[in-house]
Symmetry: C2
Subunit: 360 residues, 2 copies
């Protein structure tokens, strides 16, 4: 069976080389005589897997020594609770609302903190990032929270807000490892693996070590305490071992191919190809203002529901799958994560050109 | 590379037929053109996977219609918090302490409830199950909690306590699907997948529907509410899709091989082989009283630390791995879960016999 070109927003496309290696090693991993799935998490073989994964992610993102990397479970949704529970001091936080996920994070934080919504782009269906220069942060806020790439709406912060020294917390689920970042500008970064890293079920947290405290309220569930996980190097309980193994393969694959700098160039090329076409198309319109466009999730629309539907179906029949936009915005979305090859985007643009000719 | 005989307590051995199928399908799953890992959890293909997994588990355990099956994340440790948070009414619960996991569950519940430790077998290093006829339950307790199979110590409840109508909650992580059970005797069953079902990272919860309420305290994290997950059929957020796929393959494999009744016969045969040998051995001594022995985790000891070490190392060199007992008890432990073939146990007993001859 031929592989399709998969534009899914997540769980999403993985590098073919990684999948091939995983398939080969699934029944017996190296000289261990067993599958990675069957390995005790306390075994030396698994310790090597998680240690290598952590070291390679550290290398890829230049993570400084004063940051801890955690492999957790429960996705971004669990982080929505863990962050306020663990980072609270003054019990105040500032949230920027740039999409559904940012909104959910804010709602959950309100259970625990006095939350200030600093800005929102909901007035225009989250099609832009608000002007960051106009923002007023509460100097007593424990942190400022952003969702850096908005998967559903196709927007991305291309600069970070100047928080005047307040700790910045960023949901990078759909943009982590897509471009170089300066970790020291963040207090905490979190990301579900299932968009740009590996299979669903592993959550990456990169946290500045001084934030790993026991300041959480007494009612905080044990598994929602960063300290428990940090003290045991993500092995307090059985971690999602196979997911971590897959993340590790992806990290190694990125390193072997020039690291984040190289994939960033690749990603810019792919996105330019698609946006350049969209900007001159008479049929398809990009839905996000130019300056705030995501490199990972490209949203567009014909403005005609029937035509959108026809396009999505015809695309599917031609091997371009998961192009339907999120139900809350409609239209189309092409998620072109790290693992999407340039040829995949080229073929899509070619297909769109043809569709435009035939349907304009 | 030859496969070893893997007696790991968890993550643990999986059926070879299942691993082979997973390896074959890893790169492209059926006619989807993609790996299961790359599949949107909202796609029809994944919906079929999770629906089939749920239906097959329901069939295997005869789960009645008034019970909901959930596929969650976070392992048994997360259930230790979710259970008191979601099941509280009178804010009282009775816990039976038969091992480290039962103890951890009790400790976590104390954060939220007035907890009564009904009994404990810690006086004899958890080598037995206390006399259930002597137990006094609080008629106002919201539930009674047991850990039904104690992985570390090798004990198992062979009958359930008569709770006089109080809801029974059972941690079945290391015995689920090993023998037929009457679900209607339980209010809630939970199990980490990584012992008898699939890879680490998926947690199975079987809960009586009337217990899925909004009685939890206001501070309960969203992801720790059963209702959120139940209302969306385990798809409120991205579930651990690949793990669920693997669990589904194991469920189907069990059904194709006679279901739980057949595997129970198989498990009894394996356990009898090993315990019968241990009961007559002059070198190896079983550590658990006869009536409370686990079918899944068989613990034994020579009583001599040097000899234990020698045995474990020699066994490893002969392809019998992960026989070292948990650090808190020492000695040896052979976990012989569903996926352990009879031949694996036969070969181990043969090896032990030889070792006994040479070292007595």
């Amino acid at each position: 069976m031929k592989r399709v070109v998969n534009f899914s927003a997540g769980p999403a496309i993985l590098p073919e080389a990684v999948l091939k290696q995983a398939a080969e090693e699934l029944f017996v991993y190296k000289n261990t005589g067993m599958s990675v799935m069957e390995m005790s998490h306390r075994s030396q073989d698994f310790k090597n897997i998680i240690t290598d994964a952590e070291a390679n992610l550290r290398k890829l993102l230049n993570v400084p020594d004063n940051y801890k990397i955690l492999f957790l479970q429960g996705g971004a949704n669990t982080q929505f609770s863990m962050i306020p529970l663990n980072l609270m001091k003054n019990k105040k936080a500032d949230y920027l609302t740039t999409g559904s996920w940012a909104k959910k994070a804010l709602k959950e934080a309100k259970k625990y903190l006095d939350v200030n919504e600093v800005c929102s782009s909901e007035d225009k269906m989250f099609s832009y990032i608000p002007d960051l220069n106009k923002l007023q942060f509460d100097p007593k806020a424990d942190y400022v929270h952003i969702c850096e790439n908005n998967t559903i709406y196709g927007t991305k912060y291309h600069e970070l807000p100047d928080t005047k020294g307040i700790d910045l917390v960023s949901d990078m689920s759909s943009c982590i490892l897509s471009e170089p970042i300066d970790i020291s500008k963040y207090a905490l970064i979190y990301a579900g693996a299932q968009k740009n890293i590996g299979p669903a079920g592993t959550t990456i947290v990169i946290i500045r070590k001084d934030l790993i405290t026991e300041n959480y309220p007494d009612y905080t569930p044990l598994m929602l305490q960063y300290k428990i996980h940090a003290d045991k190097d993500s092995m307090y309980n059985t971690p999602p071992t196979y997911g971590i193994y897959m993340c590790g393969l992806v990290f190694k694959h990125l390193l072997n191919n020039g690291g984040v700098e190289a994939i960033y160039e690749h990603n810019k090329q792919k996105a330019a190809l698609l946006y350049d076409y969209l900007d001159q198309s008479k049929l398809f319109k990009p839905t996000v203002v130019k300056k705030d466009r995501s490199l990972m999730n490209v949203t567009f629309n014909t403005g005609n529901e029937e035509l959108n539907k026809k396009f999505i179906e015809l695309a599917k029949n031609n091997g371009f799958v998961n192009l339907k936009g999120h139900r809350s915005v409609g239209g189309m979305r092409a998620s072109i994560y790290n693992a999407m090859p340039l040829d995949g985007v080229k073929a899509l643009v070619e297909f769109m050109r043809k569709f435009e000719e035939e349907n304009l």
